[in-house]
Subunit: 324 residues, 2 copies
């Protein structure tokens, strides 16, 4: 019997050996951690250095993946491939040539913008979305050229659609949900999702409470959201991107929300009446819960084994083969 | 008939297509350019980006080498391998983990110090040489581990000897001459040279006027210096590192000598009575002069063909095979 291949498209966790063991326990063959929210080139290189150390110190559990083949090798050896990513293009310090250099250093996923407008494009929280900028077009083209995943999760809707049009390869929404199912600025409208599908992309559905609303009230309910998303984008374009933040606390939340750009409170995906870290989703409190989720997709949402395999990791793997 | 393999261990030239054509005309199969004198990580990454562009735009002439095999491939296809190097450890911004990251980005040669003391060790121009520091030992060990050439050319004598002792692999003096033949702070004493040889290293002899004195007065005279150096270190440990600076002018000289560290005049290898750019050595005004030098090593200094081949590139190639 071959082991199932599960992939988590995006996490914000602070990984240590315990969290890496959870990946193993959950049968996760690949995960993308977040190396940067607002960090610049130097700080992201520090984060890359820490991941090198973590991979060397825990070589029995993980390996840093540079290709889709590395993910398959990790799966075959019962380990988890780490597909290094950032949630902002801040690491390239507005230099087109840094895209290739960060690719050399192993970075494989880059979200074009985090919560704010930057030189590349507009964000989901900006009152006005600039669309993909002139520099942004260059960055998308360069990411295509070197083989780096363009992630549109926190990106503004207009900028996201522009990026899909500009991209010569499939792009991803690693962690968001359809806006038609839960109306939140972080979630994606049908126009963007249609363009994403036409371009061969994948949306990783999130279990993050603030952008999932009632759908996270139970595992079965969330699987119903998966079913409804499949109705919108088709079975070949849905994956999982939990947005889990294991061992990440108030300090990290402050950094994500305020970075160095503001002196005033910011609520990110929360609100003035919901300011703290979103409470854990009890049925997805760590990646240990992936196997139960797979069972629920079949038992509660009625997916076939083949469909479940696509949602749990098969679609991401095909996507990584296309892009990396 | 196989073409001879020539290697220039170190240049400061500003490379453009014309200078790259000179490399071809001179039959140079590998050269190390200087990407940094005082530049930090970001600036060195900019320089790496420029070299990527240069290599893409002149793929008929050059290729960036990551291994000794790449040098042999370049030689086989009549091109010049660019072995990327810096004349300071400033690119790593005092971070041990950046050594591996810069290696990932293609850097293969790093001089531990330029003209000043830094966190790694003492320089040839400092009144007191700290020796290899605690951090310096870590850097040498890390360069060993990833496969990066430790260059001692501008390094202080004590620090250089310490580095040889600390190094688990052969190290290089890419561009200097024996101090016993011409007394200059940049040149190397016999104790260091003996240690270099015992460790399997190579010294690249320089044609730079300020550190060569009377030996550059003619090609034949310089070949006599090669002969005398071979008497000191043996035929297997001598190469060439011209220190050529084609298309490099006063602005570059100012940067080399003063960087950002001083407001007062500095003379580098010159002196208060010899402040400007050293006059060209007429018989080594560009790499086009390499074939004539090879002939002179045989005709004037009496080296056999096999010995000449070692001096002109064979020793460097063996060294790169050992280290990279």
């Amino acid at each position: 019997m071959t082991r199932d291949l599960y992939i988590d498209g995006l996490e914000c966790s602070n990984f240590d050996r315990e969290v890496l063991e959870e990946l193993r326990d959950g049968n996760i063959s690949c995960v993308t951690p977040t190396l940067a929210f607002w960090e610049n080139a130097a700080e992201t290189m520090d984060a890359l250095g820490r991941w090198r150390d973590l991979a060397r110190d825990n070589a029995d559990l993980i390996t840093i993946a540079r290709t889709a083949g590395d993910i398959e090798s990790a799966h075959a050896t019962g380990r988890t491939a780490i597909l290094l990513g950032t949630q902002n293009s801040s690491p390239i310090d507005d230099r087109i040539r840094y895209v290739e250099l960060f690719h050399d250093m192993g970075l494989r996923v880059m979200q074009l913008t985090y919560n704010n407008q930057n030189a590349v494009g507009g964000s989901c929280y900006e009152p006005t979305d600039s669309g993909l900028t002139r520099f942004g077009r260059e960055v998308v083209r360069e990411m295509n050229r070197v083989g780096m995943v363009v992630d549109l999760s926190h990106v503004g809707e207009r900028t996201g659609i522009d990026a899909i049009e500009a991209s010569g390869r499939p792009v991803a929404v690693t962690h968001a949900n359809p806006r038609s199912l839960y109306d939140h600025p972080r979630n994606k409208g049908d126009e963007l999702l249609r363009a994403l599908v036409a371009n061969g992309g994948v949306i990783g559905l999130a279990t993050y409470r603030n952008i999932s609303g009632p759908w996270v009230s139970s595992r079965a309910r969330w699987c119903d959201m998966v079913r409804k998303t499949v109705d919108i984008v088709g079975i070949d374009h849905v994956g999982i991107g939990t947005d889990l933040s294991r061992k990440s606390g108030e300090a990290e939340l402050e950094w994500m929300r305020r970075g160095r750009w503001t002196r005033t409170p910011q609520y990110g995906a929360g609100s003035a009446t919901n300011t703290g870290k979103a409470p854990k989703v009890e049925w997805m409190s760590s990646t240990r819960d992936f196997p139960a989720l797979a069972r629920s997709l079949s038992a509660d949402a009625g997916f076939t084994d083949e469909e479940t395999a696509k949602i749990m990791g098969g679609n991401w793997l095909r996507f990584y083969r296309d892009v990396l």
